[in-house]
């Protein structure tokens, strides 16, 4: 199910040249903010939770997920070079699975690690906050990668749709319509974090069992469907 050559090519596509720049800028920004906040406000559990929840989990993880998830397959489909990969005797689901693993690894590296570092800077893991948000970032990385990888195979405008989901659905509708929060990767991952963090510092609107089922379900279903999509991929010309 895992093809090292495909993985190597995907890593190079994801981390090569300018694409890597944006992946590096976001975590650096998070750490800079963490340092600045610590210097201004001192160590405080609520503030730490606010920064990690408001900036890291709500903005940074989805964005990195969009870039890594769609970037793992989107450009290849876009410029048509995917045909050279599809022409090789590698199973299409294997290609998807490998690309998913790479996307997850990249998203985790660039979102969970800086989240942990920022958490440690903010309050030295007081109330298990750093660990809780790191776990949320890890869990969210998996679901986002699978979801956005699927989008990359379905649409040429995957990045736009991914951003619409991340910004409009999760941020805007999520804050206005309570029901929308049930269908949000962010809330599912937060419910896992809620379990880890002490005394109500992290809150989620979704129960842990439901969140786990939805997380696993979405990841598996998205990966499976992306594999199916790739089996019958139609290369369209640029409009």
């Amino acid at each position: 199910m895992y093809d090292p050559t495909v993985a190597r090519l995907t890593y190079r596509a994801l981390l090569g040249r300018r694409r890597a720049a944006i992946l590096f800028v976001l975590p650096v920004l998070l750490v800079v903010i963490a340092v600045a906040v610590r210097a201004f406000a001192g160590a405080d559990d609520d503030v730490a939770s606010g920064v990690l929840g408001g900036f890291a989990i709500a903005t940074m993880v989805p964005l990195i997920g969009v870039i890594a998830g769609t970037g793992a397959i989107g450009p290849e489909i876009d410029d048509g070079s995917i045909v050279y990969l599809l022409a090789k005797p590698v199973k299409r689901p294997t290609i998807i699975f490998t690309k998913l693993i790479v996307a997850i690894a990249v998203t985790m590296l660039f979102s969970a690690l800086p989240t942990f570092v920022a958490g440690m800077i903010l309050n030295g893991n007081g109330g298990q906050i750093a660990v809780a948000y790191t776990i949320a970032a890890l869990v969210a990385s998996i679901a986002y990668s699978a979801l956005f990888l699927l989008l990359g195979t379905v649409s040429r405008h995957a990045v736009v749709f991914g951003l619409v989901y991340a910004l409009v659905w999760e941020a805007l509708f999520g804050s206005l319509v309570p029901g929308a929060r049930t269908l949000s990767v962010q809330q599912w991952s937060l419910s896992v974090a809620e379990k880890v963090a002490g005394d109500g510092l992290v809150t989620s609107d979704v129960g842990l069992p439901l969140a786990t089922i939805l997380l696993v379900g979405v990841t598996v279903a998205a990966t499976w469907y992306a594999g199916q999509k790739l089996r019958a991929l139609k290369l369209a010309g640029e409009e």
Partner: protein
């Protein structure tokens, strides 16, 4: 102009036949015409006009959302008895719907410039009688006009609605004018930033992500730090933190000069003195993005 076919006699072995090719003697519209064409094509392209049906969906949808929200606000204002003004200030509208504006510029700026780079059509543009200056100006003006249409149209709807509801004419006109100035500033600023980021990559998808990252990440970072500064009571810092993201810059300028109430935590917008700094930063960003674009197109490829 001779059109008849004939032969020109040379030596006996070689002979040139005049087979009647004509040189062009029609009108040559020139540089200004090329620039106008590029402008109108780019402007139409931002809304998907003259492109495939699929590429019309997103810009039209975003434009529809903006107008729909304005219509709903007008309907609320008319239906509620004893209203003397709109439920929202003209200047606050763009700030509330910044996500929609961000998505519009993020999806349309790359389609305006990245595809020219990707399909290497930039050299073809420059084989026409246009200069680097014309290309940059036309693209910038087209993007800014598209944004102005997107943000100005709902304000016009609000204004017409307010007049139909017989709200105070002078007050509404003043608010509408201030709102239009503010969205014009926002359009030019966002167009400049969006095009600079988009012009750096031939990949449309990556361009979209990069533009949205510049807009939302800076806003996310600034508003998070502002909220913390508000909680810890350092209200002076809130004003200056707003300098670091495009939408808070616009917010600051309109709070200082255009009678808007700030969306900063606690309404701690800049006063006139700090507002000058905001205005200088905005103008510097616009001039800077123009300069970067001019530099960018000194070399046609990447």
């Amino acid at each position: 102009m001779s059109t008849e076919t004939g032969t020109v006699t040379g030596s006996d072995t070689s002979r040139i036949h005049n087979i009647g090719y004509r040189s062009y003697d029609g009108v040559r519209p020139g540089r200004a015409y090329a620039r106008r064409s590029l402008f109108s094509q780019s402007l139409r392209g931002s809304f998907g006009l003259g492109r495939s049906a699929k590429s019309k969906v997103l810009p039209m949808l975003l434009c529809g959302v903006m107008c729909m929200v304005a219509l709903i606000l007008v309907a609320v204002a008319m239906a509620t008895p004893n209203m003397t003004k709109l439920p929202i200030e003209y200047t606050a509208f763009a700030i509330y719907l910044q996500a929609v504006i961000g998505l519009f510029i993020a999806s349309q700026a790359p389609q305006s410039v990245s595809r020219d780079l990707r399909f290497k059509s930039v050299p073809l543009y420059f084989s026409r009688p246009i200069e680097r200056l014309d290309y940059v100006i036309a693209k910038l003006a087209a993007m800014a006009s598209a944004l102005l249409i997107l943000t100005g149209l709902p304000l016009v709807i609000l204004y017409v609605g307010a007049l139909l509801a017989k709200f105070d004419f002078a007050e509404q006109t003043k608010g509408f004018g201030q709102g239009m100035v503010s969205v014009a500033l926002l359009s030019v600023l966002f167009a400049g930033l969006g095009l600079v980021v988009a012009a750096l990559t031939p990949r449309r998808g990556f361009g979209v992500a990069a533009v949205i990252a510049v807009l939302t990440i800076t806003y996310g970072a600034v508003s998070t730090v502002q909220a913390i500064a508000w909680e810890t009571g350092s209200t002076g810092a809130i004003t200056w933190l707003g300098l670091f993201s495009p939408i808070t810059l616009v917010d600051g300028v309109q709070t200082a000069f255009l009678g808007a109430s700030s969306a900063f935590p606690g309404g701690e917008g800049p006063g006139a003195a700090a507002g000058v700094a905001y205005l200088i930063v905005v103008l510097a960003l616009v001039a800077g993005s123009y300069a970067v674009l001019m530099r960018r197109y000194r070399k046609v490829g990447l």
